[in-house]
Amino acid sequence: MARFLPAEAFTAPEKPHDLLPFRFERQASGVLVSNMVGDFVTLAPQEFDRLVALDIAPGDGLYEKAYAAHLITRQRQQAQHQLLALRLRSRMAFLRHLTPLHLFVVTLRCEHSCPYCQVSRQSTDRSRFDMSEETAQRALAIALDSPSPRIKIEFQGGEPLLNFPLIEKIVSKAQAAGKRTGKLIDFVITSNLALLTDDHLAFCKANNILLSTSLHAPAELHTNNRPRPGGNSHELAVKGIRRAQEALGRDRVGALMTTTERSLDNIEAIVDEYLRLDLDGIFLRSLSPYGFAVKTKQFQRYDAKRWLAFYQRGLRYILDINKSGRYFPEFYSALILRRMLTDRPIGYVDLRSPAGIGLGALVYNYDGRVFASDEGRMLAEMGDDTFALGNVATDSYRSLVMSDKLVGLIANSLTQCAPECADCVFESHCGADPVYHHATQSDAVGIKPLSEFCARQKGVMRHLLDLLDNSPEDTAILRRWGGA
């Protein structure tokens, strides 16, 4: 029998170490380090200094930690690079599906008059603010021209049910085209459900259309936040959700909340309302600085710090509900966790780089103008055309998406190379939001230390990491949400 070699024989420094790219942030508990694909490891400050100086050797514990985390490799090795390359490729694979989302603003009219509305509603006077059939036709042609093999058409408003005949026409034309071309097409109607009829439901059922709505709680808050003639917006929303669940199935209707100042102290009541209505989770969102939200100063009433406190309190409450055995995810955390715990490609329009404007979604306004995002449309209603890409009357899919304007906005805002973002330890799980930064700082790149978007993202990720590190019970739930 040949002699067996001791461990030291395999640790001799005949192949020197090299550093691989990583990002870091000094924190009270140590240095948080993330590798090229966003795996996190926390090092003591001295460990971090030794890593940077490559003052490490197999067997010292730090070498093992750094090697397993892809922070170092050895010369002439390939596997470390290949693993990072394929994982990065997987994470960025959402780029293979160009423009999967198409929003049709079929009318700007709405019978609600919500003060925070991010879309400027108009009176219910017909002719001027409805999308014409011709405009819809041309918009559909552009949507069908996007290369993605599966697209989602979302009907927006205003209140889209006010122009339901147009929805019916678009759905039937889109389906015929889908049959012809093999493109898969999903449909969503975003509605306040106040005007929902049995005929609407029958059509949704027949065409497998999802409904999405807004729901606040308690009832009095919803009714105040979302005023309508009769003062019964909450009652109608709840009734609409129940009818839709019954007619279409529990998983075919979703509700979104929007955080207004008054929601901040009511998160438990909001969650309870979602549970009572048997909804399959909740999305703790923040208010965006667009449309009426700016005009009515709603946007300025709470800042990132207060929102994070609200988020943490809400998440705590939701995690405790999950602990008692009910699966009820907070969708925003679930999205971030999928990014942090897996390499699945996630093209969520508002949190990706390259940004989702145009490449992730196009918005066809009632008047035929095309915008790079829903928020871009809201800015245009306020007189800012930065994100207006063209008009369905004169443009094609290619001319919109390849326009210098869009390419410039996306190229300039890449988190992979934007100041602050490029070095941020959370970069792998974050995204570029040129519309937000343009709206708040008149600069699509933005100065990130002044950005509430940035503060919210970092705050959410730090909080989730803290739970993953220190709370095994929560971790079990968070891992399920993230699918890892």
Binding site: Y67, A79, L83, R479
Partner: protein
């Protein structure tokens, strides 16, 4: 334990100069279907039947071979300890030395063919220590045996040594295997390094075998630890590359981790690394140590009581399961495992080297338990005890 090789007590009618032969055993009443078929004879009735059905070869079990003229001309007489042999089993036989090996047992679900004893690893716990010899005859013998294997065989393994050292020959053999036994699930146990070559991986993928899996060991998330275990510098890098190339070609890959004192203490880190970096592999097997071969020589380096990594193993399984990676525990009895991982514990030990201890008779879980290896010098955990009401 079943003896899988030995020497014939007597041989008649074989030219001692003739090359190695493959012999398939047949129940006498079935008659010969192939020139390799020999009647399996246990008593005078069998002998009569063999003659009546025209056998010219026979394998006689037991020393009391009948002294009769009415007997097949070519015959091999085996001792009583080979009484387990049955209709459909296949032997490899060397007339010059009278040495034979049981290559295949039709009723067993643990048939594996040793392809070579050569290896480019020298694993510190190897149960089948490698030999640096020219043993290409083994593969020729396997290729003779394959057409005789029962077409209903559900699964079959090819082991080594490192089977891919003579990769062209092995791939040619697997190509035949796919045509001869298309529904049979095939496992090949390799150290994976050959697949770092795109040429070999392309040839492997070109087999287009419908049920082929390659099982490849990864012993740590760190190169130096893995290289030490397999006693080969650069092994980790090539093995990982090999796995990536196989998956790039859509081939089925199982990752295997043998648990001992060099690997078990890091098993959580290793599995976290697998879940994060190789989530696309098809199965992970976490395997108790078979205390034989080099494992005995390196006992001082390798022995760790499974009770001392019970919690880590449970966490490792949980990590893989949460990442939706199929995972199994092999070779560890249930009494040393956390209850949470019992559903993952398989009855993995090949039937011919598998047994239980006297106290197992009083255990409620015995019928679902892996039991123990009988090979080498078994070492038993302090945690072994009957489970449940019959204690």
């Amino acid at each position: 334990m079943l003896p899988l090789y030995g020497f014939a007590d007597a041989v008649h009618g074989f030219d001692p100069a003739s090359p190695r032969q493959v012999v398939r055993l047949r129940a006498p009443e079935h008659g010969p279907a192939d020139s390799a078929d020999a009647a399996l004879i246990r008593d005078p009735h069998d002998l009569e039947a063999a003659m009546a059905h025209g056998f010219s070869s026979a394998v006689l079990l037991g020393k009391s071979a009948p002294a009769s003229d009415q007997i097949p001309a070519r015959r091999i007489t085996l001792g009583d300890n080979f009484a387990y042999l049955a209709d459909g089993d296949i032997l490899g036989f060397h007339p010059a030395t009278k040495r034979f090996r049981t290559l295949y047992r039709r009723r067993s679900s643990h048939n594996s063919f040793l392809v070579t004893e050569r290896c480019n690893h020298y694993c510190i716990m190897c149960s089948q220590p490698p030999k640096d010899i020219d043993d290409r005859w083994i593969l020729r013998e396997i290729r003779q045996a394959l057409p005789l294997v029962d077409k209903q065989t559900r699964s079959m393994g090819f082991t080594g040594g490192e089977p891919l050292l003579e990769w062209r020959d092995v791939i040619e053999m697997l190509d035949e295997c796919r045509d001869i036994l298309p529904p049979t699930t095939v496992h090949v146990w390799s150290n994976g390094r050959a697949f770092a070559s795109s040429e070999i991986t392309a040839a492997w993928a070109a087999l287009a075998h419908p049920n082929l899996t390659v099982g490849i060991p990864i012993y740590a998330a760190v190169d130096t630890v893995h290289d030490h275990v397999v006693q080969a510098k650069g092994a980790f890098d090539e093995t990982v590359l090999g796995i990536l190339k196989l998956k790039d070609k859509g081939q089925r890959v199982e990752v295997r981790v043998v648990l001992h004192a060099l690997t078990a203490p890091h098993i959580v880190d290793t599995c976290r690394w697998i879940a994060r970096n190789l989530p696309f592999i098809d199965h992970v097997a976490l395997m108790g140590l078979e205390n034989t071969g080099f494992a005995i020589a390196n006992d001082a380096t390798l022995w760790i009581d499974p009770m001392d990594y019970q919690d880590q193993l449970a966490e490792a399984v949980d990590t893989l399961d949460a990442a939706r990676l199929p995972v199994s525990i092999y070779n560890l009895p249930r009494c040393v495992l956390a209850r949470s991982v019992w559903p993952y514990a398989a009855q993995s030990i090949s039937d011919w080297k598998n047994d239980f201890l006297p106290e197992c008779e009083r255990c409620d879980e015995q019928s679902r338990c892996s039991g123990f290896f009988t090979t080498g010098r078994p070492r038993y955990s302090r945690g072994i005890q009957p489970i449940g009401s019959r204690r």
